[in-house]
């Protein structure tokens, strides 16, 4: 699966120039330059502790960049405009354990809006959670929880996805599912930045790789 042919130049989703982050005056990741356009999928590679999670949190606006500049959808990360079309999936999935899978999706829609053609039930079926719509998330297995988070991703209208280790805890079907969702998202003009340790069968359409040194 390759990125869709660019008719005009697709919009710039992320643009980082000499972006760096320091914590208590220690460099976490060095100066990075990269850009991500609509329809592209970027991969962040790096060993444990090299700063992948930190980078995603900077892009989401949860941490302030240390050095350099970064723009997300033409605005400051974390600004109103940027938040309107960004969604991050981190190590913590942000699901309410006491609520059912369906209720969690509804909360997501309440917060972020809903993609045009999205239907919670259909999406739950797509991620392989047919019979689990009304099960409390607390009672799902690790992989099933991840799938709920993926379903939420597919349901929301965000154009930029920041995914921290989306493949962890998923089985083969789950990994294929993530790649499917990514391909579909890119085909629709969205962009995604994904961290991974490279040990899994990664999505084929990667157009940009950011390497972090440990």
């Amino acid at each position: 699966m390759s990125p869709p042919p660019a008719t005009s130049s697709p919009p710039l989703m992320i643009e980082a120039r000499a972006l760096g982050f320091t914590r208590r005056d220690e460099d976490v990741f060095g100066p990075l330059d990269f850009a991500l356009r609509g329809g592209e999928i970027g991969l962040i590679e790096g060993d444990n502790g090299s700063g992948k999670t930190t980078l995603l949190r900077v892009l989401a606006g949860l941490l302030r960049p240390g050095t350099g500049t970064v723009q997300v959808l033409g605005a400051q990360p974390g600004s109103e405009e940027a938040r309107a079309s960004t969604i991050i999936m981190g190590h913590l999935l942000g699901l309410k354990a006491d609520l059912s899978a369906l209720e969690n999706l509804r909360i997501g829609m309440g917060l972020y809006g809903r993609a045009a053609d999205a239907n919670p039930d259909a999406i739950l079926a797509r991620v392989g959670l047919d019979g689990y719509a009304n099960e409390a998330v607390r009672d799902l297995s690790a992989g099933q929880k991840k799938r709920v988070a993926l379903a939420r991703l597919a349901l929301l209208p965000a154009r930029l996805w920041l995914l921290d280790e989306p493949y962890a805890n998923l089985d083969r079907h789950g990994i294929a599912l993530v790649n499917d969702l990514l391909a579909q998202h890119a085909a629709a003009g969205g962009a995604a930045l994904v961290t991974s340790h490279g040990a899994v069968n990664f999505h084929q359409g990667v157009t940009c790789t950011v390497r972090l040194a440990a």
């Binding site: 949860l62 302030r64 079309s85 917060l111």
Partner: protein, 200 residues
């Protein structure tokens, strides 16, 4: 539901600790109910953001395109409806059981009606500030209680005045003014506090 039970049980402990002397209990009934309701709200408050923080939902909220102050105002309203409203319903019963004069009941209720939303607003701003820390339980009480002191003083002042047959409007008017101010400022302060707590 549970903060109510907590308040009932704490209020029940006092007669045990002090002995069932009617005049004494009646004298302190107003104050004990006030303090008890305050403590019950405080306990519930800690769970509001603690849960959201632990499962990452707070981040999702922060990053959503909805204006943060609106989200937080909704959260405050929900919190007040779920914890304070039931407390307001049992407070008169507790006050009766402790022997508060019936004439003072409306004043107590009015004082609570003004004091609880004020506390909720204050508490949520502070909880937002402690959101970045992990040990927020005790810390929250520590920050909230000193700020709650003026609220308690005014509320208790009104109840005490009513118990002695004095005019009790003035302290309640102050509470009402503070509440009006807080209703406007708290959502903004809360949004700011959350940003401060979660940023680096």
């Amino acid at each position: 539901m549970l903060p109510v039970l907590y308040a009932i049980i704490v209020a029940t402990l006092f007669p045990f600790a002090l002995g069932p002397e009617h005049a004494l209990l009646a004298r302190i009934a107003g104050g004990v109910v006030l303090v008890t309701v305050l403590l019950a709200m405080l306990l519930a408050l800690d769970n509001v953001f603690r849960g959201d923080l632990d499962d990452g939902a707070l981040e999702q909220m922060l990053l959503s395109p909805q204006p943060l102050s609106v989200l937080l105002a909704a959260r405050m309203l929900a919190y007040w409806l779920v914890t304070a409203l039931p407390l307001l319903l049992v407070a008169p019963i507790l006050a009766y059981m402790l022997g508060l004069q019936p004439a003072v009941q409306p004043v107590l209720l009015l004082a609570l009606l003004l004091a609880t939303p004020l506390l909720a607003l204050l508490g949520i701003v502070l909880t937002a500030l402690t959101a970045g820390t992990r040990r927020s339980g005790m810390l929250l009480s520590l920050m909230l209680l000193p700020l709650a002191v003026p609220i308690v003083i005014f509320a208790a002042g009104a109840v005490g005045a009513a118990q002695q047959g004095l005019p009790w409007i003035a302290p309640l008017a102050w509470l009402a003014a503070a509440l009006a101010l807080a209703l406007v400022l708290a959502p903004l302060a809360c949004a700011t506090a959350l940003r401060i707590a979660l940023d680096t």
